[in-house]
Symmetry: C2
């Protein structure tokens, strides 16, 4: 395979910055404070002022690659982030990972109590689907339905929730690389891939482009997890904004424990190449943001 | 207000029985066993072989009243039941009501562990939206989008999850009847009302019919909770299939603690009358199932 270089002239920082401001403003407007009995406060705490917002950026990059409806893309970007945020809240609960630090802040159940954290997560999942289905004609009904389907499948038992069930069942068990990959494809890969496909669903794209974007999303999703495992052993908690070294402490299998550090690093670069080659195969002309995001995922240090 | 009698000749038992068989078969087909790492088993345990299925029956009754699309109605009936089932799983968790008995069986976290129960609830919520958005043209896209919107709003912070947050915050606090009603409108009323409106969304209905059905759903939703509170003090656990007297034990406010037993019973009958009057105002000709369901909700003994 020939090495595909990331297009150098694209300014990811400016591009991201513009979209992130808009996404933050929309999230703040849509996740309202005045939900009953403190629930709104817990939901906002879980969602606002934190996170890399990789999933919203993937939605926007894919949507722009296919000339997507901008209202649909903004709603999809926020909806997928709500699903991600709810999964972190539930994943941090004492009955799951029992984590106390997330994005440099106390986790939601530490700040608001377990019951409120449970409800905030539940309500964030519902709100994601509410955002995708606005009254009126700003987003065509067929796009609304398609976005809901992509998100529901990626969040549910064949996606994120299923991956977390495998994760739970695999503590202390020696997984093969194939099994590890399957777990991550569901646990984190499905939602990252869905972000790309939801962006694509905001516009028109033919089968070839759709297949290429799907492959890109799958490779990027895996690369994301490989790099997460690498950072878990190479970075400290201060840099990551979350507890470091916790996979090893929990005796969870990782790409690093399976392939060694340099093996995992090489694997991440291979996956980046897969993602870039898949993008080229789409025939889409404006894929620079998608390329730059894949590069950022693999070469990040937090 | 004149007393409106329930149309006597309607055979609710036969009507329900036919729909319930179909709903059970669809739930069993759609909540698959083979979700990863035991998750499917926990989801099926939470959903199958139990419950009165009031919400699916309301969907079907409303859909038939407006000549709705039968595929849409069956999906909506199952989706709303999945949301109800997930809410029970999460509500029973130790950090919420910490309940061990539900529908005469150990609760999901007792049978499968807390983490699996949390994930099963999460996955059931996602699956509800997946059911509402099938690929292909069996359900028109605008109906899919509308069903998702109604369900998301009813399940989220302005509905069920919001009501549960109020419920959490009100343990040991003396609520007024208005505050108690607000809590129940969100906690159980919103999803019952949404069941009716989702049924209506499967077909065509004008504003007058829609308003009447909304009022019917609201009255029925409140009546359901009033009767629940009555049964909590008049029936034993064996009859209810769940822990009896737990509201009083948890020092939770109820209609009975607020209005007395006979006051609550009279209130339930008044709400039944409201529901029946609202149905008459719809101008719809085939509302016998909706009438009979309202009567059943108020005059049930489990």
């Amino acid at each position: 395979m020939n090495t595909v270089a990331v297009v150098p002239e694209f300014d990811l920082r400016s591009w991201s910055s513009a979209h992130l401001s808009a996404v933050e403003a929309s999230l703040s407007a849509w996740v309202v404070e005045d939900a009953p009995a403190g629930l709104g406060g817990a939901m906002r705490y879980a969602v606002l002022d934190g996170g890399k917002r990789l999933r919203p950026l993937l939605v926007w990059a894919a949507s722009e690659a296919v000339g997507g409806n901008v209202q649909a893309a903004q709603r999809a970007a926020c909806a997928v982030e709500l699903i991600h945020a709810y999964s972190l809240v539930h994943d941090d609960l004492p009955c799951m990972d029992n984590d106390v630090l997330r994005r440099g802040k106390p986790t939601v159940h530490v700040a608001f109590g377990e019951a409120q954290a449970l409800l905030a997560g539940d309500a964030l999942q519902a709100l994601a689907f509410e955002l995708l289905t606005p009254v009126g004609d700003e987003v065509p009904a067929d796009v609304q339905a398609k976005l809901c389907r992509l998100l529901a499948v990626a969040a549910g038992q064949s996606g994120m929730a299923g991956g977390q069930a495998i994760d739970l069942a695999s503590v202390g068990i020696k997984l093969t690389q194939t099994q590890l990959q399957r777990m991550h494809q569901l646990k984190t890969g499905a939602l990252l891939q869905a972000s790309v496909m939801m962006g694509a669903a905001c516009g028109e794209c033919d089968d070839k482009a759709s297949e290429g974007l799907k492959t890109y999303g799958a490779a990027l999703g895996l690369a994301f997890q490989v790099v997460d495992d690498i950072l878990d052993v190479t970075q400290d908690a201060m840099t990551l904004g979350k507890t470091a070294g916790k996979d090893a402490a929990n005796d969870k299998p990782t790409y690093v424990s399976l392939m060694g550090l340099s093996g995992a690093q090489a694997h991440a670069q291979t996956l980046l190449q897969h993602a870039l080659v898949a993008l080229r195969s789409t025939g889409l002309s404006e894929t620079r943001a998608l390329e730059a995001l894949a590069d950022m995922v693999v070469n990040r240090n937090t």
